[in-house]
Amino acid sequence: MGVKSEEIKNRTKNLIKDPLLLITIIVIFVLIAIFIVYPLLKVFFVSLREPSGNLSFSAYGKSLSNRYMLQGFRNSLVVAGLTAFFGMFIGYIFAYTINRTDIPFKGFFRTIAIMPIVFPPFIGALSIIMLFGFNGLITANIFGIRNFPVYGFWGLMIAQIVSFFPVAFITLDGVIGTISPTLEDAAFNLGANRWQAFVKVILPMSVPGIASTMLILFIESLADFGNPLILAGSRFPILSVQAYLQITGMNDTRGGAAIAIWLLIPSLIAFILQKYWVAKKKYITVTGKPTISVLKSVSKPMKWFLFSLCVIFSIFILIIYVTIFWGAFTQSWGMNNTFTLNNFKYVFDVGLHSIIDTLIIALTSTPVSALLGMIIAFLLVRKTFPGKRLMEFSSVLSFAVPGTVIGIGYIFAFNTPPFLLTGTLAILVFNFVFRYMPVGIQSGVALLNQVDPAIEEAAYTLGADNRQVFSKITLPLIVPAFFSALVFAFVRAMTAISAAIFLVSANWNLITVQILSQSDSGRLSEACAFSVILIVMIMAFVFILKLFLKNKISLSNNNTI
């Protein structure tokens, strides 16, 4: 034991001798404690406090005691599970087809597959109704079906799969892209046919990616509430909506918090599985030079089959967006198709303030969130320090918690000194930073695991300190992760609603709240116009970012050793 403690002494000494690292770790712990753990504890405390002031778990029993809530719990799990599976499946088809065949229009498919990450809240769901409802473009006008059950399971599944499969695509695109085609060559060489090569080589190698994607989709879908609020309807209760309604409709914060914490349990289980079971199965490590091989993974008929699947799905996604644009540029959505720009005139009259606010908030929170995510990923993968697991777990906790709960938690936590933040820009920014940071952490960790640590070690031996290594070596090497973290954080900051609705103030308002308010008062076309502006702004952001980071991305895609 004596020798062991000498090592610990050495470690501690080294940590203290590196004040920047120590300070960074402490600052991050403090930030996580204040902006993730503390609000959640507040909510938990509220859920325990009975009106009489006693603490008890009674709200938990009560909230799941009736059949309706139980059914909601079951529905939530089913929808989340199916979303995870089908979202992954479609994402995989896209990723595989783009990476393993020489189909035309790859760039187009890539864009389409990423587009639905901008699924404007409420309006996205409404456009599903416009397509599948009584006078739905697809159901009624194409197939002549009048009674497609768009409200409930089917409508919700369509919306969930469309809005979540891009997340799967982005991950799987990376995974399949890094599996060297020479491996398939080797399999063919050993006498495997194409199907065997796929089943025995490609599929097993993408299993970690598949599993972690599914778990992420499961968690996201479970916590989502924008789509089910419109599409689920009361006959098909969904727990995240019920938590929201319990708080906002029944005025029962305690019960709502209890429901949300029930919801947290499957999320956390999925999360822990993802963390400690899937992540254990090593990511594919890229070594050596990029290998060039002629793509021959699939036969010609298979290729065109996959191609047509992608085409069909792309058309479907396009139709959804066309539907939104259609609403934005016509007098009355679905009823009067006269072209007009009045909706936009209205939007700039009424909503300019909130458009600017949204941009400011998103542009402030995005870089902070992405950079912080990269720093935490760097610490988690490359450094050893006490409490590392705790940091790993707590930093991504907010990802699994339904937004309503986070929103309420933030008000409880930040409405009194010492953290008086309500009504400020800061509360929204902090919320977005810490809520959407986990995605950056995840992709940073995944990519960093593929980078030979010797590259950073080399920089240390050349005299670079932690800060220099991070900024000059690590960050450039994980630019793709940084990029996706930036995009994700920006998109979510622009489209967030569930937590944000509790945090917006007179000075700082958001487009999404406008969309909600406009569609609530019957101005659907105006809401569509807001959505179009949202989509355009996000696409512009992604485009500019790509232009800005283009060199670096293409570079490190090829040779992260």
């Binding site: 020798v3 001798k17 050349l462």
Partner: protein, 359 residues
């Protein structure tokens, strides 16, 4: 002066198993010398190297650099550079930027940096490739960049972690000569890790043979080869035959061994302070065996069981008794004819070439 490792220890702990990676390592490396850590994989050589570099924190013991305790200094403060097995070039930087990376971190002025790079590029022979990216270079060129990048820092100690293992055989040979040339040219204290004994022999001033975290022997290449301290070292370095026996009598620096296998006595050098009655073994290199008696004191009789013709030499195997095989080698096979399989033969070896150690 130089690098000193004092009682270095490293234990890796995972869940409930403890693995001793390095056990009590002591070594003083003089300035300008190249020391090789040699051993099979998992012997703790790389761990030792990483402790010198500062990437691993020792479980016990101290590391001194020019008499300064650097155990608690981070890698970037130690003035030690390292060349990695994977080269670890910065893929996003050009050759030039890779080499100047450390100088820029040091905030040297531009003129000086340019001057140094110029000299270094000539030294390692990369002229004309300055603007290339690492992936546009061959393995040998990448290795040169890695070396240049480390050398330009003029570190107190240069570390090599199996730098040649990713190169093909021919390139490996020329690169190790070059590394040796450059190392001696700039007279830099170096620690070199490898599992390739030929590489170790050809490049080192001193070799440290390690096994399972323990130092087996420290010595110059000749000592390690001719005077191995134990069977592991003897076996790991080059080809070897072991013949077991019991010490019968002592004769100055020589010892006489009774070997039941040969049904003979063997006289050889007392390599391990052997006393009468100790069980011991003869360490016999194949090239020490000769078919000419001349003045050689010892002999072995057996039947040639097989041979391999390798051009410059012929390796063959002598079967003694039922299952003891002795390796031998003959050079210049064109002049001396090839061995004949199944022929009974007697081979001779001198007492100077029989190194006897404790069994």
């Amino acid at each position: 002066m130089g690098l000193e490792l004092r009682n270095i220890k490293k234990v890796f702990k995972s869940l409930n198993t403890e693995t001793v990676a390095v056990k009590d390592f002591n070594q003083n490396i003089e300035e300008g010398k190249l020391v090789t850590l040699l051993g099979p994989s998992g012997c703790g050589k790389t761990t030792t190297l990483r402790m010198i570099a500062g990437f691993e924190i020792p479980t016990g013991g101290r590391v001194f650099l020019n008499d300064v305790d650097v155990t608690n200094l981070p890698p970037n403060k130690r003035n030690i550079s390292m060349v990695f097995q994977s080269y670890a070039l910065f893929p996003h930087l050009s050759v030039e930027d890779n080499i100047s990376f450390g100088l820029k971190i040091k905030h040297l002025n531009k003129k000086e940096i340019a001057k140094k790079i110029n000299a270094m590029i000539d030294l390692v022979g990369l002229r004309g490739l300055e603007k290339r990216r690492p992936e546009q270079l061959s393995g040998g060129q990448q290795q040169r960049v890695a070396l240049a990048r480390s050398l330009i820092m003029e570190p107190l100690v240069l570390l090599f972690d199996e730098p040649l293992s990713n190169l093909d055989a021919k390139l490996r040979e020329s690169m190790r000569l070059e590394i040796r040339r450059i190392q001696q040219g700039v007279n830099i204290t170096s620690v070199y890790v490898t599992h390739d004994q030929v590489e170790a022999m050809s490049i080192s001033d001193i070799i440290v043979v390690m096994n399972k975290g323990e130092v087996m022997q420290i010595g110059n290449p000749f000592e390690i080869y001719a005077k191995p301290k134990n069977s592991f070292v003897a076996d790991f370095i080059g080809r070897v035959n072991f013949i077991d026996g019991k010490v019968e009598s002592l004769d100055g620096e020589y010892v006489v061994l009774n070997c039941p296998l040969l049904r003979k006595k063997v006289i050889g050098i007392n390599g391990d302070k052997l006393e009468i009655g100790d069980s011991a073994r003869v360490v016999l290199r194949p090239e020490s065996l000769s078919d000419k008696k001349e003045s050689r004191e010892n002999s072995i009789e057996g039947e040639i069981s097989k041979f391999v013709f390798l051009g410059s030499n012929v390796e063959y195997e002598l079967l003694i008794g039922d299952d003891k095989r002795i390796n031998a080698v003959t050079y210049n096979p064109i002049e001396r004819k090839l061995p004949v399989v199944n022929q009974k033969t007697e081979l001779y070896f001198s007492k100077e070439s029989a190194w006897i150690i404790r069994n």
